[in-house]
């Protein structure tokens, strides 16, 4: 509540008129107080005089009784020293003066009568009987001057000046406080307005970034759609096998780029199904080289040099490849006139609280960048390239990938000399599995035909997958949903593998189907496919193998043969 009282007080002082009223009230209060003090002081004077009269009466009792004027006079004279008493007298029982003095012009009364204390403007008179042991022996008389009111007033002048000054101070402070609080209110309003403007600006920047992103993505997609559709058109018009092969290659590349683009977007959204596995980076050189040769220009030379004793790392291979590609694409763009991109790796032993790590560095001979830019390149949507030339997601994906694996990414750049981007990935304690023989259908070796039960609701995808399976030498039974697949299993379909999409219409998804199938036929291998699904991690948790769309025929073949081999 003290806060309320305080703010109330502030509110009062904040109005200058109120401050003046307050000051006047202070003045009035001090006048009343002074008057009251004067009254009290007068009463005290009277009281003091009464006490003096009793003392005098007691002292002169014996002298009065035994007619000793000299002694009585001595006692009375003692009061001469008191400046507050200007006349004192001792009177016998008959009221006649016995002893006394008067320093003032007015003489002592010749006869004294016991009365109440008498006050007038200039003096106080006190009379008191002289009593010894109940016997009245006479009386005393005392007279004290009262200070003239001018003198008394002058005593208050000092305090009065202070009070007036205090009142003026209050009035002054009040008005200046009012001015200050008014200014404060204006500043507050201004700050709020500025805050609102900043919010609006931030919002518009966000919209601008969104526009840039969607513009970039749309442009990239348009390009690859253009390449794919026109490739298909041309494919229909030619019968030249060489030309057809080139066109097919072009279409494939366009589709790969589309797949990578969506992969990047998903990684940025942190929703990409992550499928980390322990690998030796050295084993990926060939794949990397292939990928980079396809993505970079002809005037760019890629030099890859990995030592043979590199530690294994646990990463999502697809993401790793995308990350390296993103770094390489940036390196390429930094070298408009061509040059060498050197990709090296080395073991970094544990130090300074960091664990054992493997460092992969991509060095270019490009333009480099100033330090202030380095701080920004990992921000999503940040790009130095023009609209349509970059999404600003590349290095953001690299950063997300590195953090996701428990590692980090570092950039060293010297303007005009080049840039080194280093991925530091923690060493994996898991040993990578030995590379399996690629995609031979194990059933063919056993001279029999294996049956794959495929559950896929998307007719186009199902068509492609069926063709892939047939190409791989499998027999296929395709159904549209989980319930139909389960029914076939219940009816004793002799399937060797269950291949299912994760998201399907109906009450059951792929994961539910996998669980149900495992309950019915625990030995039946299950392989799930997904493009984007929040349940992907759930599949990983239940140790159900997962293929990430889009996948190629090789990946499908090797995964199927691995599962069938494991079963036998």
């Amino acid at each position: 509540m003290p806060l309320t009282r305080l703010s109330l007080a502030r509110g009062i002082v904040a109005r200058p008129g109120a401050a003046i009223v307050l000051a006047l009230a202070l003045l009035a209060a001090s006048v009343v107080l002074a008057f009251h003090n004067e009254q009290v002081s007068r009463q005290e004077d009277v009281q003091q005089l009464i006490v003096q009269s009793r003392i005098l009466g007691g002292s002169v009792a014996a002298a009065l009784a035994f007619d000793d004027r000299a002694t009585a006079q001595e006692y009375v004279d003692a009061l001469r020293a008191n400046p507050e008493i200007d006349a004192a007298g001792v009177y016998a029982l008959d009221g006649h003066r016995f002893a006394g003095f008067s320093t003032a012009d007015a003489p002592l009364p010749a006869i004294n009568r016991i009365t109440k204390p008498r006050e007038d403007a200039s003096e106080i008179e006190i009379t008191a009987p002289v009593v010894q042991n109940g016997t009245v022996l006479g009386s005393v008389y005392l007279r004290a001057p009262i200070e003239p009111w001018t003198r008394r007033l002058s005593r208050y002048v000092g305090i009065g000046i202070i009070v007036v000054m205090a009142a003026m101070l209050i009035a002054g402070l009040g008005s200046s406080y009012a001015a200050a609080s008014e200014a404060n209110r204006r500043i507050k309003a201004e700050m709020e307005a500025r805050q609102a403007a900043e919010d609006a600006l931030r919002q518009s920047r966000k919209m601008e970034a969104m526009g840039q992103l969607t513009g970039g993505v749309a442009h990239d997609f348009n390009n690859l759609l253009m390449a794919a559709s026109s490739g298909l058109e041309l494919l229909d018009r030619t019968n030249d096998p060489k030309r057809r092969e080139r066109l097919r290659q072009g279409i494939r590349e366009a589709l790969d780029r589309g797949a990578k683009l969506t992969q990047q977007l998903l990684t940025f959204a942190r929703r990409s199904p992550v499928n980390p596995e322990a690998i030796y980076l050295g084993k990926r050189i060939a794949t990397l080289r292939d990928l980079l040769d396809r993505s970079l220009r002809e005037d760019i030379t890629v030099a890859i040099d990995f030592p043979s004793d590199l530690w294994p790392v646990k990463v999502d291979v697809a993401q790793f490849e995308v990350a390296v590609l993103n770094i390489a694409v940036n390196a390429r763009d930094a070298m408009p006139n061509g040059g060498i991109i050197a990709i090296t790796a080395r073991n970094v032993p544990a130090s300074d609280g960091e664990p054992d790590r493997v460092e992969l560095s991509v060095r270019d001979e490009g333009t480099g960048m100033p330090p202030e830019l380095i701080e920004k390149v990992f921000e999503p949507f940040f790009t130095t390239k023009g609209v349509g030339h970059g999404t600003g997601l590349g290095l953001s994906q690299v950063y997300g990938f590195a953090r996701g694996t428990g590692g980090t990414v570092r950039i060293d750049s010297i303007e005009g000399e080049g840039t080194v981007v280093s991925l530091l990935l923690p060493r994996s304690l898991e040993a990578p599995p030995r590379a399996a023989e690629l995609s031979e259908n194990p059933c063919i070796a056993e001279d029999r035909t294996c049956l794959v039960l495929l559950a896929e609701d998307d007719a186009q995808v199902a068509d492609i997958v069926v063709q892939m399976l047939v190409e791989l030498g499998y027999e296929v039974r395709h159904v549209d949903d989980a319930e139909a697949a389960l029914e076939l299993i219940d009816n004793g379909l002799p399937a060797d593998v269950l291949l299912s999409d994760m998201v399907m219409p109906g009450e059951m998804g792929g994961l539910d189907l996998a669980r149900a199938a495992r309950r019915r036929r625990p030995e039946l291998p299950v392989l799930l496919m997904t493009g984007y699904s929040a349940t992907a991690s759930a599949a990983a948790e239940e140790d159900i193998p997962l293929l990430t769309k889009p996948f190629g025929i090789e990946a499908l073949g090797s995964e199927l043969s691995r599962l069938i081999d494991m079963k036998e």
Binding site: A62, A65, D67, R69, A92, H96, N133, G134
Partner: protein, 182 residues
């Protein structure tokens, strides 16, 4: 009110006598004894008697033993006076023994008549009786002795004697004494 009026009337009478005595340079014998009679009646308020020394229901007594120099003056002076709320009465005796001495609170020992001064004082010795003698007239030995000093009636006080008799004398009275024997 009536008591006060009477008191002040009486006081006026006494003080008139005292004033008359004071006015005279050499007090005549009647004035001198008027003053002494007045003093005798005024010692009371300055003396503290032990409890029980004054009978609860009776008056306080001033006894004049031996020759009485005061006559009616002491009766007039004692009228209306009191000690600790007891009215004063005056008794005259030729001689006292211990018993009759004990009935007095103040005992003026005048010139000896039926009993020697020493015997009178002896009878009162050890009792809470304020004995008064008149040294200026040749009678000595009381706790208070009248003397004439600078032509005025004053007194000496024997504080040791008062102590022996169990009487306490006010410092105010002691301050007025010409001489105090301790």
């Amino acid at each position: 009110m009536s008591v006060l009026t009477r008191l002040s009337a009486l006081a006026f009478a006494v003080v008139a006598v005292v004033s008359a005595a004071a006015a005279a340079k050499a007090p005549g014998s009647s004035l001198e004894f008027a003053v002494k009679a007045s003093y005798l009646t005024k010692f009371g308020p300055f003396i503290h008697w032990p409890p029980g020394a004054i009978p609860d229901d009776g008056p306080a007594r001033i006894c004049v033993v031996g020759a009485d120099p005061f006559g009616a003056m002491i009766d007039i002076a004692a009228r209306g006076q009191q000690i600790d709320g007891h009215p004063l009465s005056v008794a005259r005796m030729d001689a006292v023994d211990a018993k009759s001495a004990a009935s007095c609170q103040i005992m003026f020992v005048g010139k000896p008549m039926a009993q020697s001064t020493a015997d009178t004082l002896h009878a009162a010795a050890g009792l809470p009786v304020l004995t008064v003698t008149d040294r200026s007239r040749g009678v000595v030995g009381g706790i208070i002795e009248f003397v004439i000093s600078d032509g005025r009636v004053r007194f000496d006080i024997d504080q040791a004697g008062a102590d022996a008799d169990g009487l306490q004398i006010s410092a105010k009275l002691l301050a007025l004494a010409v001489e105090v024997r301790r």
